[in-house]
Symmetry: C2
Subunit: 168 residues, 2 copies
DNA sequence: TTAAACTTTCAAAATATTTTGAAAGTTTAT
DNA sequence: ATAAACTTTCAAAATATTTTGAAAGTTTAA
């Protein structure tokens, strides 16, 4: 396979994976493109390569910056903005975990905590089932939360080392 | 908060979370409803409670069965089909992990393996960056894969015990 | 067989999400 | 102050996803 073809394949695959996980396909594709590009790229170059509009490129890049995955770079003497993606996969994974925790896990845990407090007749099967499901899901969510917290602090080698040692 | 209100809240929250993770909102809601319901429910009851059409209910239930989260139950002497969801949260988590691994992680690993094989000029920065990103992501994906495999085999208490012991 | 009871299908409609692109906004150089 | 170079905005258009519901299909009982 040619490098150019391989790049296309990767961008496509990454976009598909993203959309399956609730991430806008274009956003995943722009990120993929930046990941396999050694230099910074301009909005113009991204529009051109991925065949997307200026507005779309601009918004997507802003989102990626909001996710902490891409940074804006300025070159001395130039008006244009350049964009660059951190290539460290462990940093990327952590950054995504961090943001999704903040945006999605934290809010659901807050709701589950609320719902855990609901009182009811101890012998009412309706209440018993509700309560058991809520408290169990809450426990699971909190375990995931703790694990993510550890991951966020950890070094990659230590993290996988510990994990795979235990789980071997 | 009243139990009835709490149920509504949970169904809503679960639907929202699902849609943020690439799971159809209605599917997540039907699952939520079954999770907090002690008895089996008929298509009719699900349609009524969630205010969805027969076609939607039917397709969603088939999907949930396909994900291994819901089972069809027949009652002797009755024509109607009843639906029931396993309430064991650990089983649910494992089942979801298992399906997503099969549907999404496995295919992307297959593509990454392909892309890792692409040959190029060792000093070409384009090639070097592409290659590094691909191989790094591939390694990460394989670590996740191994961890999921362990999770799929494991008992809940052992899994979290080991994890939290190491990460404390 | 027939018909009642129930489930499944799928084209069309509704809804939600994403994308476009031209206009408005901003910054810098002269 | 003006204009060129660039970025941002956002209403409308395009696209994608989800939902509907009536018709077709299936199963069972009599």
């Amino acid at each position: 396979m040619e490098l150019a073809e391989a790049k296309q394949k990767f961008i496509e695959a990454w976009g598909k994976l993203g959309s399956e996980w609730g991430i806008n396909r274009t956003m995943a594709q722009v990120h993929a493109l930046l990941l396999i590009t050694p230099e910074d790229l301009t909005t113009e170059e991204i529009m051109e390569t991925l065949q997307i509009s200026r507005g779309n490129a601009n918004m997507t890049l802003r989102d990626l910056i909001g996710w902490g995955l891409v940074e804006k770079r300025l070159k001395p003497g130039e008006r244009k903005e350049y964009f660059y993606a951190d290539k460290d996969t462990w940093n990327i994974a952590r950054q995504v975990a961090k943001e999704r925790r903040k945006r999605e896990l934290d809010p659901i845990i807050k709701i589950l905590d609320e719902l855990s407090k609901v009182k009811g007749e101890k012998n009412d099967p309706e209440f018993k089932t509700f309560n058991k499901s809520i408290t169990d899901i809450n426990k699971l969510a909190k375990n995931v939360d703790k694990t993510l917290e550890t991951m966020l602090k950890a070094e990659e080698s230590w993290f996988w080392g510990s994990l795979l040692k235990v789980f071997k």
